[in-house]
Structures are given as structure tokens and as C-alpha cells.
């Protein structure tokens, strides 16, 4: 069953992300894919995550497909104009990649090429719109395509944003533009997520709650200070501080969060950021 079919059937879905290497050694990447492909329903491949130049998401998704996994092609609007974005959507389709997560993308100065020219010709909403156009056999210029692709389009939302309302307005805009599923920014506060879901439910699209594996208290503090929309509450930081085996604690917390939020949404999206080998342990502990 594809991701589209699984979400359509109401099955609780598990996805996880992998990041391609900075370079052409795909050894570790493929190992992670091998490890994940039978444990999760689909694997996201990040697109120059945090604006750091590396092997691309399209190549990564192709490799995932080759290995028999189901890829979710993450696309940001930071590095390509509308010509390149539309072309890569077509490229993805001919490689058998159907799931696309449409993102705006971090700004260039956050990455390792801060001197690059930022593009942002389109943004998450207009990228969804472009993909919808292609599905209808037309490009953004209104020109006919020979053969139309078909996608399962997704987008991102930040349930912990304050204020929340602008996020919900943007979510509505994304749904109207064609988003059929959402994967969220990391959530550490089930209460906040519940509030978010109360509002988000009206859009009638499946939401996969985002879980980022904590590896230390310092990492949690860093995210609190620097990452928008992520807030790790003090109790969790203290718990990490006290733990002897930090990583094991992180796995335990991730599993607990999943259990607490499982019934509020339609799936979970795990971002282990370099510790993909821990994903099966998280899923085991969460009873998934």
C-alpha cells in the first residue's frame, strides 16, 4: 500500500527522515534506508537541510525507491526558481516518486553557503499550486504537458508556534492549494498539540506529529533558544540532565511523547537527525 492509500484507509502511519551525505559516499545513507524501510511506512529525504549543501533530495529519494522503500521528496524553494522546481517535480514523477513535501526552506545565511543568492521565486503555497497545475497537465505558464504527473502532496506546520493563528491561516492556505497531508515541526508538549489539533481538525487532512530525538539537555536548550516553534519544557530538560544514559533517555522520552499524542492525530514523523539507527528502538518502546 502506498502512503496515500494508508492514510486514506485511516491506518496510523509512521514516517522517518534521512539526510543524504555531504559528498558522494552513500554508504551510511543506504544503511539507514535498509534499516528503516520495513519499519516505517515512508521515508522523507531532506532537501539541503538547514541550507547546508549536500547530495540532493531527488537522488536520495531515487535511492530509497531502488531499495524498495517509499520516499517522500522534500522540496524547498530556497535554491531553485519556478522553472527548476517544476522540472524537478517532473523528474521525481518519472523516477516513480509520488509523495512530495512542499516547504519554503531555511534562509541561506543559516547554512554553510551564507554568501549564496537566495531564490524564493515560489514558496510552500505556490509550490503546492505549481504541482497541482502539473497534475492537470499544465505548467505555471499555462503551457500543455505531454503526459501529466500525479502526486501525493504534503506540507509542514508548526503546532508550537506562538501565536498559533498565523500558522493555522497558512495551513488553511496550503490545504486550499493542494496539501493532502501534514508533517509537523517537533512537538514536546502534548497539551499544546492537543490545542493545535482541535483547530487543525477542521481542515480534514491527516497530520503526522513530528518527533525529534533528544540526545542531551544541551541540545534541548539550544533548540529552545534557536529553533522557531520548538519548545522543550523544563521538566524534560531536567530529566535529560539527570539521566546517565542520555540517548536511552531520549529514546524513552520520544516513545512516551508518541504514546501520549498517538490518539490525537493520524501518524508520527520521526526526525532522528543522524541517529536513524535509534528509530526502531523508539518505535518498539512506543508499541508501534
Amino acid at each position: 500500500m502506498t502512503l496515500r492509500e494508508k492514510l486514506g484507509s485511516g491506518k496510523f502511519v509512521v514516517t522517518a527522515e534521512v539526510g543524504p551525505a555531504k559528498g558522494v559516499d552513500t554508504h551510511e545513507f543506504l544503511e539507514n534506508v535498509e534499516l528503516l524501510k520495513n519499519r516505517v511506512d515512508a521515508i522523507n529525504c531532506t532537501d539541503q537541510q538547514s541550507a547546508v549543501m549536500r547530495l540532493g533530495s531527488l537522488a536520495g529519494c531515487y535511492l530509497i525507491r531502488q531499495k524498495g522503500g517509499e520516499p517522500i521528496f522534500q522540496m524547498t524553494c530556497r535554491d531553485r526558481n519556478r522553472i527548476a522546481l517544476q522540472s524537478d517535480l517532473l523528474n521525481a514523477y518519472v523516477f516513480g516518486i509520488e509523495n512530495v513535501l512542499c516547504l519554503t526552506g531555511d534562509f541561506v545565511t543559516l547554512g554553510d553557503h551564507p554568501d549564496a543568492k537566495p531564490v524564493f521565486d515560489l514558496d510552500s503555497v505556490s509550490l503546492l499550486y505549481a504541482a497541482k497545475q502539473l497534475e492537470q497537465g499544465k505548467d505555471l505558464a499555462g503551457k500543455d504537458l505531454t503526459g501529466a504527473p500525479r502526486f501525493f502532496l504534503g506540507a509542514c506546520v508548526t503546532p508550537g508556534a506562538e501565536p498559533l493563528e498565523p500558522q493555522l491561516l497558512k495551513m488553511e492556505r496550503k490545504v486550499k492549494a493542494g496539501a493532502k497531508f501534514f508533517q509537523t515541526q517537533a512537538v514536546y508538549e502534548p497539551k499544546k498539540f492537543e490545542t493545535f489539533m482541535k483547530e487543525a481538525r477542521k481542515f480534514g487532512v491527516p497530520v503526522l506529529v513530528g518527533i525529534v530525538l533528544l540526545r542531551s539537555a544541551a541540545m534541548a536548550r539550544f533548540m529552545n533558544k534557536n529553533v522557531a516553534g520548538i519548545h522543550v519544557p523544563d521538566e524534560l530538560i531536567a530529566e535529560m540532565d539527570r539521566a546517565e544514559n542520555k540517548l536511552q533517555k531520549g529514546v524513552e522520552i520520544a516513545a512516551r511523547l508518541i504514546r501520549e499524542m498517538k490518539d490525537m492525530c493520524q501518524g508520527v514523523h520521526i526526525m532522528a537527525i543522524g541517529l536513524e539507527s535509534k528509530v526502531p528502538a523508539i518505535l518498539d518502546a512506543a508499541g508501534l
Partner: protein, 227 residues
């Protein structure tokens, strides 16, 4: 000189859709030279809008709409007319529209597209900026330019990077432009403007039309010979 060009009447009427009354603001600075906001243009617009069934509660032509302090002072004298209107139509460049939007508590519509600033920011003293995009979208953003106020120049709402109203890029110095837009639209009760159809920009319009693409002096001369 800042070169602006009136938008087609249909586009302006689209902005006023659902509104009954409007107050018009004109500009005697660059907009007078370009004939986008001088007294004659304002009166002409007033007549056209009235023909379309809109009530014009009043109008005011100000020396330099890019001078926020002056704008505030001059508009004071028209307070009751402005209060009586559903919105304001501002007939000048992107900076002037933003300056007016910053001092009135009403929705503001741009009547012109800003094409070329010729390196000048007019009497600009405030935070408002314009990128001469040639297709002004200030109508949907409560008079705050998303091309300049948002670091990424996003047109369809905030990215996920805003934190406490600050931008993900240099939060110490940058506010999130979309947060400001959200707050103002919220205050004006027009959050519906944030969930409209996807907006794409026509970047061709960023290039000034051929006749204006030469020097600033040349642009001025062109305008003068047309008088």
C-alpha cells in the same frame, strides 16, 4: 524621482469589492509628476468611483506622502471623513501607501504600481520600503510590503521561522514582516486576506518598462514631454 503608474480601474474596483465608501489620498511629490496622485488624478478617480456606486467620503492631496510625520499631521484634519470610510485609496508609490497605512487604523489600498525609484527614497524617514516590483500587492498585506518586510520576500504568509515576532534571520535586528502583517490584518478584522488564492509574482514587472529603463533624467524628460 519615484516613478509610479496607475493600476487599471478594474483592479482597484476589485480591492473595493464589498466596501461602500472610501477616502482618497493623493501626493504632490513624485506622484504629481507621474500623474498618479496629483489633484486632477484624485478628482478623476473620485468621479470614476462615484460612477461605480462608491461613496467618496473625502480626499486630501499631501505634499510628500513619503513623509510620515507630515502625512499624520495632514490627515488629522480629515479624521471624521476617514472614520466614515470603509478604507483608504492611496494614489502614490509603495512607500507612500505604507506610510499612510502606518498612521491610520483602516485598510489601505494602493492605486498605483511602483516601477522605478531612481535610487531615491523620497522623504522616507520610516521603516517602510519598496522594491519597485511594478505590481503592488499592499492591498492584501494591510499596507506592509512583504517583499521588503519579509526577509525571504514571501507572498503567501509567514514561513515557520518566526519566533516571538522576530525573523529567523538575524532576530536581534529583524522583525518578522509577516507577523506585522498578521497583527495589522487582525486589528482590522481582515485575516481573510491571509487565506486567499496562491499569489505568484510576475518578475518581468520588476524591470521598468523600456521607456523608463534609461537614466533617471531621461525618465523625467519623458514625463515632461508628455505633459
Amino acid at each position: 524621482m519615484i516613478v509610479s503608474q496607475l493600476k487599471p480601474l478594474q483592479e482597484i474596483l476589485g480591492y473595493l469589492n464589498g466596501e461602500r465608501s472610501v477616502f482618497i489620498v493623493g501626493c504632490k511629490g513624485c506622484a504629481e509628476v507621474c500623474h498618479t496622485g496629483d489633484e486632477a488624478q484624485v478628482l478623476d478617480m473620485k468621479q470614476k468611483l462615484e460612477q461605480e456606486g462608491k461613496a467618496v467620503t473625502g480626499y486630501c492631496v499631501i505634499d510628500f506622502l513619503c513623509d510620515k510625520a507630515l502625512v499624520k499631521m495632514r490627515l488629522m484634519a480629515h479624521q471624521s471623513e476617514i472614520q466614515a470610510a470603509d478604507s483608504l485609496l492611496v494614489m502614490t508609490c509603495g512607500i507612500g501607501v505604507q506610510a499612510v497605512a502606518a498612521v491610520v487604523n483602516k485598510l489601505v489600498h494602493p492605486a498605483a504600481n511602483t516601477i522605478n525609484m531612481g535610487g531615491s527614497r523620497g522623504e522616507w524617514r520610516g521603516a517602510e520600503r519598496c522594491r519597485e516590483c511594478g505590481d503592488c500587492v499592499l492591498d492584501m498585506t494591510a499596507g506592509i510590503c512583504p517583499l521588503t518586510a519579509c526577509t525571504k520576500g514571501l507572498l503567501n504568509g509567514p514561513c515557520g521561522g518566526a519566533k516571538d515576532g522576530r525573523c529567523e534571520v538575524e532576530p536581534e535586528v529583524r522583525e518578522c514582516g509577516w507577523h506585522l502583517i498578521y497583527e495589522r490584518l487582525n486589528k482590522l478584522g481582515r485575516l481573510d486576506k491571509m487565506t486567499g488564492r496562491p499569489v505568484l509574482k510576475d518578475y518581468r514587472k520588476m524591470m521598468p518598462p523600456k521607456e523608463l529603463r534609461s537614466t533617471l533624467m531621461w525618465a523625467l524628460e519623458q514625463q515632461e514631454t508628455k505633459v
